[in-house]
C-alpha cells in the first residue's frame, strides 16, 4: 500500500473514531460519576472513581422513589406499545388490502399524526372530561394513541409487500376475517412488529412531556419525570444525579445493544425504500 493511501486511511479512521468519542464521552461521564462520592463528582470529570460507591444506587432508589417509577415506565412503555402495535397492525391490514378512496383517506388521516403535534392544552380538557387525567390507564391509552401513526405507516408498507393470495385463500377456505389476520398475517408480520415494538417502547420510555402535563401524583410518575424531579432536588449532588440517570438509561442502552439491527433499520425504513 502506498504511503499517501495509508495516511489517508489513518486520517479517516481517526476522524470517525473522534466523532464516536464525542458521541460517547458525555454518556461515559455519567457512568463514572455515578460511582463517585459527592465531592469527587462535583466537577463531573472523566477520571475513574477512586473507590466505587455502589451504595449510590441504593440511595437514589430510596430517595428518588425509583422502584415505583421503574414499574410505571415499564407499564406505560409495554402497555402502550402492545396496544398501539396490535391496533395499528389490524388497521394497516384492512387499509392496505382495501384500496377505496375512503380507506386511503383514513390511512392518510392516521399517518398525518406523524407530523401533526398534539395540542396539550385542549388534550388536558379531554383527559379531564374522560376522567383519565392523572391515571395510569389514561397514560397507557394516550401513549398508545401517540405511537399508532408511525406504526401504521411501517406495518402498512410491510403488508403491501405480502401477496394478497395468502389471506384470500384462507378466507375462501372459511377462516373468519379476524382468524385470517391472526393466523396468517400476524405471524408474517413478526419482523416489522418487532421493529415497531422496540421503537415504540424506547419512545415511550424516553418521553417526558405527557407526564409533565398530565400526572400530578408522584405514584404514577415514570422514570423521566422522577429523574427530572430528583435533579431539581439534588442538583448540587452530581454523583446521585448521575446514579439516578444511569438507572434510567441502562435499560435503554441494553435494549439498544441487543436490538441495534432492528432499531437502525426501523429508523431508516420510513425514509429509504430500497
Amino acid at each position: 500500500m502506498n504511503p499517501i493511501r495509508s495516511l489517508r486511511t489513518m486520517v479517516l479512521n481517526v476522524s470517525a473514531g473522534g466523532a464516536s468519542l464525542i458521541a460517547v464521552v458525555p454518556i461515559y461521564v455519567l457512568f463514572v460519576n455515578a460511582l463517585k462520592t459527592q465531592p469527587e463528582a462535583s466537577s463531573m470529570g472523566v477520571e475513574l472513581p477512586l473507590n466505587p460507591q455502589w451504595g449510590n444506587f441504593g440511595t437514589v432508589i430510596d430517595h428518588g422513589k425509583l422502584a415505583t417509577a421503574f414499574f410505571n415506565s415499564v407499564l406505560y412503555s409495554f402497555g402502550g406499545t402492545v396496544l398501539a402495535v396490535f391496533l395499528a397492525a389490524l388497521a394497516a391490514y384492512v387499509l392496505a388490502r382495501q384500496r377505496t378512496r375512503r380507506h386511503q383517506i383514513i390511512y392518510l388521516l392516521l399517518i398525518m399524526g406523524i407530523a401533526v403535534p398534539t395540542n396539550f392544552v385542549t388534550l388536558m380538557k379531554v383527559m379531564q372530561v374522560t376522567h383519565l387525567i392523572d391515571t395510569q390507564i389514561g397514560m397507557i391509552l394516550l401513549y398508545a394513541a401517540t405511537q399508532i401513526p408511525f406504526s401504521v405507516f411501517l406495518i402498512y408498507a410491510f403488508i403491501d409487500s405480502l401477496p394478497k393470495e395468502l389471506d384470500e385463500a384462507a378466507f375462501l377456505d372459511g377462516c373468519s376475517p379476524f382468524r385470517t389476520f391472526r393466523s396468517i398475517i400476524l405471524p408474517m408480520l413478526t419482523p416489522v412488529l418487532v421493529t415497531c415494538g422496540i421503537l415504540s417502547v424506547l419512545n415511550i420510555w424516553n418521553e417526558f412531556l405527557m407526564p409533565l402535563y398530565f400526572l400530578n401524583s408522584t405514584g404514577s410518575w415514570p422514570m423521566t419525570l422522577a429523574v427530572y424531579n430528583f435533579f431539581g432536588t439534588y442538583a448540587s449532588d452530581w454523583s446521585l444525579v448521575s446514579a439516578d440517570i444511569v438507572l434510567t438509561i441502562l435499560p435503554v442502552i441494553l435494549v439498544y445493544a441487543v436490538a441495534q439491527r432492528w432499531i437502525l433499520s426501523g429508523v431508516s425504513a420510513g425514509a429509504v425504500k430500497g
Partner: protein, 288 residues
C-alpha cells in the same frame, strides 16, 4: 369479497384512540383558541381574535419565541444535515473496518431521553467546574471558555449545539441507508469515465441522495418546530432561547389556557401544511 374479508371496523380501534387523543384536541383547539378559557374562572367566554392578537403582538414574548423556533429549526437542520452527510460518507466510503461500530456509537445519543442529555450537558457546560471549560483550559484554550448557558447572545447557539450533538446520529443513519441504496454501477461507470472524487459526489451522490435528503430535511424541520424538552431542561426558555412549545407550556402553567391554545392552534395549522409535504415525500419514497 373485499368488504367481507377486510372489514373496515378493524381500523376502528386505532381510529378511536387517535380520534380521542389527537384529532379531538385539535378540533377543540379551533374553538377554544377564540375564548378566555383560563384556570381561574369556570366561565368560558368568546373573545374573538384577542388571543391571536396577544400571540402575534410584535413586541411580545410570543413573537420572539416564534422567531427563535424558526431560527433554531433552520440552524439545526443545516448543522445536522451537513455533519450527518459528512459522517455518512466517511462511514460508507472512507472507513471500512469498524464502520458498523462507529455508526452504532454515533447513533447512541439519539436513543437516550432528551431530558437526560439536557441534564448531562448542564454539568458539562458549567462555567466553573464543567468538563468543556476545564478541557479548554487544559489544552491552553482557556480564552475560549464561556458562560455557555447564561450568556444571552451565546446560549441559543449552545442549545443548537447540544441538540445537534444529540440528533446528528439519527440523520446519519438514514443518510447511510440512502447512500448504500445507490447502485455501485453508477460509481464504477463514473470511475471508468475518469470522474474525480468531487465530480462523483456532485453528479452522482448528491442527485441520487436528493429524495432521502428531502426526507431528512422534513424530519429535521418537524423536530425543530416542536422542540421542547431540550430547551426546557437546558434553559427553561430563558436567555433568548424560548420556543413555541416552551411558551405553550409557560402559558399553560400560568393558567392562560386560551392563549396557550391559540398558539398551539396557530402552529397546528403550520404543521398540517407541512404534514401534507411529508406524506407526499414519503409516498414518493415508497413508490421507488
Amino acid at each position: 369479497m373485499n368488504k367481507k374479508a377486510y372489514p373496515t371496523r378493524f381500523a376502528g380501534g386505532a381510529l378511536l384512540l387517535f380520534g380521542i387523543f389527537v384529532l379531538l384536541p385539535s378540533v377543540l383547539g379551533l374553538g377554544l383558541a377564540f375564548t378566555d378559557w383560563n384556570a381561574y374562572s369556570n366561565d368560558i367566554n368568546w373573545v374573538g381574535l384577542d388571543n391571536f392578537a396577544t400571540v402575534l403582538d410584535p413586541n411580545g414574548d410570543y413573537v420572539s419565541a416564534i422567531q427563535h423556533t424558526i431560527l433554531f429549526t433552520i440552524a439545526t437542520t443545516i448543522l445536522k444535515t451537513g455533519i450527518a452527510l459528512g459522517l455518512a460518507i466517511l462511514l460508507t466510503d472512507g472507513v471500512k473496518r469498524l464502520a458498523y461500530l462507529f455508526r452504532a456509537l454515533i447513533y447512541l445519543p439519539a436513543v437516550l431521553p432528551i431530558l437526560v442529555v439536557g441534564i448531562v450537558f448542564k454539568s458539562i457546560l458549567d462555567p466553573q467546574s464543567g468538563l468543556l471549560n476545564s478541557t479548554l483550559q487544559l489544552i491552553g484554550l482557556g480564552g475560549l471558555a464561556q458562560q455557555w448557558l447564561t450568556d444571552v447572545g451565546l446560549t441559543f447557539w449552545t442549545v443548537v449545539g447540544v441538540d445537534t450533538w444529540r440528533g446528528v446520529g439519527y440523520i446519519m443513519v438514514i443518510l447511510i441507508a440512502g447512500l448504500l441504496a445507490i447502485p455501485r454501477e453508477y460509481y464504477e461507470a463514473a470511475s471508468i469515465d475518469g470522474a474525480g472524487r468531487l465530480q462523483t459526489f456532485r453528479y452522482i451522490t448528491v442527485p441520487l441522495l436528493m429524495p432521502v435528503l428531502a426526507v431528512t430535511t422534513v424530519l429535521n424541520v418537524l423536530y425543530g418546530l416542536r422542540v421542547f424538552d431540550m430547551v426546557f431542561v437546558l434553559t427553561n426558555g430563558q436567555y433568548g432561547t424560548s420556543t413555541v412549545y416552551t411558551m405553550v407550556f409557560d402559558s399553560f402553567t400560568r393558567g392562560l389556557y386560551g392563549v396557550a391554545t391559540a398558539l398551539s392552534t396557530l402552529f397546528f395549522g403550520v404543521m398540517v401544511l407541512l404534514g401534507f409535504v411529508v406524506i407526499r415525500v414519503m409516498q414518493r419514497g415508497e413508490g421507488n
